[in-house]
Amino acid sequence: MNALLTADALTRSFEVGQGMFRRRRTLHAVNGVSLDIRKGEVLAIVGESGCGKSTLARMLLGLLPPSAGAITLEGRNIRDLGHKTVARRVQPVFQDPYSSLNPRRTIASIVALPLEVHGVGTAEERRRKVLDILDRVGLPQRFADRYPRELSGGQRQRVAIARALVMNPEIVICDEPTSALDVSVQSQILNLLMDLQKELGLTYVFISHNLAVVEHIATRVAVMYLGRVVELADTDSLFRNPRHPYTQALLASVLTPEPGLGLPDTHLGVAFPDPLNPPPGCSFHPRCPRRFEPCDKVTPALLRDAGGENAVACHLYPPSPANASLPKTKN
């Protein structure tokens, strides 16, 4: 299948620690992530808060340079393509509808901005296009000349989606697009995103912590833990047969709307993941209920199944003989 956008061994680190006597330390937010984003798919990225999803998203958008590795858009490094070219084809919808909209601009001018930047149409054509897209995302036209502060969270997220779509991008990277919304708005936005995808042939990268939503909308899922992809699978396999112990814990933690069941016990240790002190070996081992001998020493690689597309990074699933990239050692 053809990859539209490819991440190749992407790594991004930050230097943290302030003050004269505290030593500066390196935080590996994203650590060697390789992913193909294929035309027409909905690739979901799920994982613990702070595991690097937004950092990965910002790199894919060309908004943050990687410390190592490369991103290619149909074979060309996005560093060489320039920001404007990338922005025409890859657009974001961010996690936080509050800080991502300029408070001093009206809704219409926020949505029109990408058109202005790229010099599309006359002022009147732009206005028409803006009203059209606002209508498409379900915002009454009376909102066009209001300011973001006058809108509720759900209304602001619709503005963000309108702004992302106004340039007709191919790939939309949605970072928690519905997490600030209540459910009737969430279902409308998800229905909207699915409709727009079919109508416009869009490709989505969909970051979310809501696994019920991910199961509903995604075609493939990448599970991240502490900056790495630990499992990658088509949606059906992942939900029917989660293999990585962290994926299993994630699925066990889903709160279904059944009163009286109380809060589930995830059977995870309380050693919360810390990108400043990543544990040696498998970074999940301090919390993993199934850890065994090699786990705290050897980092498991993300291995593709024999003849399949799915992959998992866990010692419970050793490389198989048919795996071309990692031949089994003879004994």
């Binding site: 943290v16 808060s49 969430q186 409308q188 199961e215 933690s253 059944e258 809060l263």
Partner: protein, 323 residues
Amino acid sequence: MTDTILDVRGLSVDIATAGGVLHAVRDISLKVERGKTLCVVGESGCGKSMTSLAIMDLLPKGARRSAAALSFAGEDLSRAPGKRFNALRGNRMAMIFQEPMTALNPAYTIGDQLAEPYRLHRGASAAQARDRAVYLLDKVGIASPAERLGQYPHQLSGGLRQRVMIAMALMCEPELLIADEPTTALDVTIQAQILRLLADLQKEFGVAIMLITHDLGVVARIADRVAVMYAGQVVEEGPAAALFSDPRHPYTRGLLDCIPVPGRTARGGRLGAIPGVVPSLVGEVHGCSFRDRCPHARPVCAEDPPAREVDGHRWRCILEKAA
């Protein structure tokens, strides 16, 4: 014996806008008992945040509160001066805000911001405040808490910021905690952990929690009572079990149909939706505000629907029960 910590009666919030007065919250009444959790759910823009900001006396400029009663631990605050709220807020009552970045000051470190209310209200020393901050950051699941104290808000991920805010709200062991979407940016394993932390605090200190969320899964698992808001009003309120098993208001029923439930909803299929948009609340508002979107609406719904009640489960609709 019930022990009401918060008793709000006839609360309204009016906001002056260019187009006229917006009636963001319209004559609502809510009660929160010590040691119990009230969850507030409802359409985006229905006035949940305005309700909590009104209770905390933190309404934005241009917004005006009026209430028949706003009693906190038996003290009526409906006409209390701002000074009284300053003494209670961040101390005996605390709030976790929906917008971490507007609540956190970008110019100060996490450590300074955590310490401030504790030093102000409890007269704690810098070292005591620091110890408590480290303890709470650890409790909310932030690793290397001592290092995080020196960081600024923009250096944290969305989920970490939210957990810092939760820790900040807990610094002075409040009796009432109002949490506006406290776990939205968190992944599910951490969410389960944070909700258990809140439940533990509740058991240990009897803290009352008013939790605003759009996650009906969270509501189902932690709420004692649930209030459903629509267009500035509480349209249904009652014990959690009754609300899920026997929703009375058509809007509540619609909400429950909107969530994808693995195994029940077809993957990639359309989710239940409540077509239409919320009516404008600018100017005079009459009748049932859900009538433009309600599948059961009749001409009589243009008049204010009756308030009904069965076993402490109340709703406002012409119908006894939506079919």
